[in-house]
Symmetry: C2
Amino acid sequence: MSVLPKSVENVVNEFSKLPGVGPKSASRMTYHYLRSPNKDATKLGEALIQMDEKTKFCSQCFNVTDSDICDICSSTLRDHTKLCIVEEPLDVVAFEDSGIYNGLYFVLGGVISPADGITASELRFKELEERVNSVINENDTVLEIIVATNPSLEGEATASYIQEIFKTAVKEDKIHISRLAMGLPTGADLEYADRLTLKRAFEGRRDI
Amino acid sequence: MSVLPKSVENVVNEFSKLPGVGPKSASRMTYHYLRSPNKDATKLGEALIQMDEKTKFCSQCFNVTDSDICDICSSTLRDHTKLCIVEEPLDVVAFEDSGIYNGLYFVLGGVISPADGITASELRFKELEERVNSVINENDTVLEIIVATNPSLEGEATASYIQEIFKTAVKEDKIHISRLAMGLPTGADLEYADRLTLKRAFEGRRDI
């Protein structure tokens, strides 16, 4: 005989599916709601259902949005001669929070990862080409593409793939492609830096 | 300009209210659902709303349940001459998972804690008395009450308060009250045990 009523168990099960949430944490989260007097569970529940109903991908950059074209793509205040290619919508949030970038984005939806069975055809490379072409046509100047995939093996491979796609356009001076710098993060201890990071930091050394 | 659509931000806000979940974890949890293709957010959402709608407190033991009287209270297979008093519904789960107990429960709904402004009147002492009287009337034998509040200052104070309530009934041999043993937990290192735990373990030493 299970002690938990079915309706409570369902919530525990759903919470357990979250990354990094075990059965113990899932129970704790569920019981938090059972204790709360303000129908907070219903509030979260409605927010979740609304999110599933309302959010879609921006038809231009594939970031999550409530509208057809997201606020960034439709903004005239953003620099439409820069396009930053990221893996996931959360990467856009990271850039926006930092406040260092005022251009457009393109969300690939992942990276090429043969180990996980993710090939180029599963990512939005076709949509990327279309987007790049339409931005080029929109402006007269060179389009600057910043490849901001993660500094992992897969991220590197994906960056090379992007470089390959736009090879001709780069030669024709329509596009300029750069990649985020790799090196030591702020506050890092050189002593504990891994070999690859140190190698990249050394290769990327700059005159002072 | 916020990057996150309103509907996504709502979910992040609601998740952030959970104990031990900061804004970063809340975002990660939310984005997990944005990535998932199976409308998992809606599943959790509906489970939460259902839980708020369906669960109530058992009218006898005040554990959470889907029905008017919970499965434990209504079971004839349980020992109705034992009543274990716990603070929270999760404590019932802990006992049931351990499989060591086959009696009834009573959920107090907390402990007396003047520091948090929780006085005896906010807990279910009146309901406890009623429950105890009805169980006594139901059986011919002595009712064994096991006080299983947490081994904290507040838990101790609450245990004393319960003892006080049933003083007369204990004298009249209608009730026998015991408290969970305190001492060293399994696998503990004596060297690192705190003073109070060691004191209780010493006081509670048993012949071997």
